[in-house]
Amino acid sequence: MTQTISKSGLSDLRSKDEIRAERRKGRTGIYLVAPGLLVLALFFALPVVVLLAMSLYVKPPGAEIGEFVPGFEIGNYMTVLSAYWPELLRSFWFALIATVLALLIGFPMAYLVAVRLREKPLLQGILLVLLIAPFFSSFILRTQAWKQILADEGFIAQALKFVAILPADGHLTATPFAVVAGLTYNFLPFMVLPIYANLGRLDTRLLEAAGDLYASPMNSFFRITLPMSAPGIFAGTLLTFIPAAGDYVNSALLGNNRNTTMIGQVIDSRFFKVIDYPGAAALSFVLMVSILVLVTIYIRRFGTKELM
């Protein structure tokens, strides 16, 4: 009995020391994350608060252009949402198609480089550079290049017209097709790289084991390779979808003025053309929250297990 008491007393003493050490460790941790938190507060939290405040501003009677006063005008949201919900939906729709296409195109590319060429480091290196190369040129220049590629007088449009897939007076640019193609192309590296990084770690012995257990190559792919690369696919789809949904360069350069307008373009024009700061802020906020909600649903549905 006495022994037990003294034992617990000892453990209490020790745990005090431990607590102190823990505290010290905890404080070090705080010092370490402080700069990050500060940057985050300064460049994310504060702008978001400002954005939210701005979105509720009101225009006083007789105001000059660009003059708004602090207020609590929830109606700003109603106004922009009722006017621009089609553009918002379209943005998510286009981003979704682009993401799926990027996955379908990007996965085989990543697979080829990361798995098939594992034994050939030189070729692997060259192809990897080619995959990343688009990153080295300006986003907008790349989009311009797409415009040239898809131009009426360009090879692709001419060829499609020749085989009568495209009507003689049809065109590829200034169409939803061009916008989605541009989005797909521009965000492809964001899809390929995470999948590549993931597949680079794929233990091919598992594929041998699957083959040994009667799985055909196709079967091995769907049962082993694909599920094992889920974290890469997950990261890739998020990294593609989020910027694609907010993008306006592709729709501005490759779209028309009817059925390709995306929400980023609307925000741009509310801000710069109409000088409607609250409207632009409200739309930005809606876009941010919508993406947050969609991503949360996505993570809940597919993410947690694989992200461990």
Partner: protein
């Protein structure tokens, strides 16, 4: 000289895409920054948001005598540039002659985006880091109305006497006290002579079925709408209102809906002309002169018979600038005919300086008789400018226009 021009033009073509790219990027960043800043300032309850009277701003103390610098924000590709020396020859000369250090920034891509970028600071009377900014007439008008521009001292700009008579009195700035023309230009019609030999005489000729899906309009409301109204027979300088505006807007809407108009574009329309996606549309005179020089004279620019637009881009000194006198010395320098001619030979826009035409002989004799650079009476008589819009109209018309063009 022609050779020099060719080099310049080559550089221009090379840089066109890049600069546009940068400009667009900039405008995105500027937008974000502007929005955040505008919000911050407003939240702090600075002048910018005090309703109604913004004219209470006072000019910054002029430090020109102690600080020998002048900062100038201008549009991209709007000043003569020497590819080899990687500098602006006339600006070099200005620095040498004046002893001032001039910092030149190709910051402006469109009136709207630059206004959006600096508006919050202008409203607060703060220094935007530029002593000279260049805006188009209608934005110049807005800046003056909002009290964001300092009054100029003409004693420091003796060469203002060379200003073209037509520009000495402008509606928005009687006596040119708060602005001075940098370059002028026309908005008119352009078409590809090979693809569309018939040519265009009026804006309505753009609705020719042969051109379906191959024409573009400009995304500047202040260009496209007046052009359409002129076509409709409206006196744009006179009294017109929602009815006339609405009628032209309907024309625009119909032709976008039925696919006649392929796209409503900003500066990128030049790429569409080059690629052949577009074969006709509305355009700025200087652009087409440049394009023809670079791409082999395929395009024709003309003012519609119903009239074209004459517009100017103007120097202004922001209220917060502490170098007004230095800025005035720079404006004065560029109003010397030989300097103006050198600039005109590069930028190909309409030169607002008297005597420059004679000086042009030295730079590029071909250009002396170009009515797009040195306008003839006949040309000028076929142009007009839009009347002033009220604050409410500005917002309202812009809103309607944006809705029709889909953004």
């Amino acid at each position: 000289m022609t050779r020099q021009r060719a080099i310049n033009n080559q550089r221009r073509r090379l840089l066109q895409g890049i600069e546009q790219a940068q400009a667009s990027r900039r405008s995105v960043l500027a937008g974000a920054a502007g929005l955040a800043l505008a919000g911050l300032l407003s939240a702090c309850g600075t002048k910018g948001t005090s309703s109604g009277n913004a004219a209470a701003l006072a000019p910054a103390t002029d430090l020109s005598d102690s600080e020998a610098v002048v900062n100038w924000a201008n549009w991209t590709l709007y000043l003569d540039y020497d590819e080899k020396a990687k500098n602006y020859p006339t600006l070099q000369r200005f620095m040498k002659e004046s002893g001032l250090k001039a910092k030149y920034a190709e910051d402006i891509d469109s009136n709207d985006s630059y206004y959006g970028k600096v508006q919050a600071q202008l409203a607060a009377g703060q220094d935007i880091g530029q002593d000279l900014m260049v805006f188009s007439d209608w934005m110049t008008e807005r800046i003056i109305r909002q009290g964001y521009a300092q009054e100029l001292d003409h004693n420091n700009i003796p060469n203002i006497k060379n200003l073209l008579p037509a520009l000495q009195e402008v509606r928005f700035d009687p006596g040119r006290k708060k602005s001075l023309t940098w370059q002028s230009g026309y908005t008119g019609l352009v078409w590809n002579k090979e693809a569309f030999p018939k040519g265009l005489r009026n804006v309505e000729d753009l609705w020719d079925p042969e051109l379906k899906g191959r024409i573009f309009m400009l995304d500047e409301m202040r260009d496209t709408m007046p052009m359409l109204m002129l076509d409709d027979g409206v006196d744009i300088a006179g009294s017109w209102g929602q009815v006339e505006f609405g009628r032209s807007l309907e024309v625009l809407d119909r032709n976008i809906r039925n696919g006649q108009i392929r796209q409503v574009k900003g500066n990128a329309y030049k790429q569409d002309l080059i690629s052949g996606d577009a074969i006709a549309g509305l355009a700025y005179s200087g652009d087409i002169t440049q394009l023809n020089f670079e791409e082999g004279g395929k395009w024709e620019f003309a003012l519609p018979e119903s009239g074209g637009l004459l517009w100017s881009d103007n120097f202004q000194v922001p209220m917060g600038s502490p170098h007004k006198k230095n800025a005035e010395r720079l404006m004065d320098f560029y109003y010397q005919p030989d300097v103006a001619a050198e600039v005109a030979a590069y930028v190909n826009y309409l030169c607002p300086v008297l005597g420059a035409q004679e000086e042009m002989e030295k730079f590029d004799p071909e250009l002396v008789e170009d009515p797009l650079i040195f306008p003839t009476e006949e040309f000028l008589s076929n142009t007009s400018s839009e009347r002033e819009l009220s604050v409410e109209e500005e917002t309202d018309f812009q809103n309607q226009f944006q809705e029709v063009i889909g953004v």
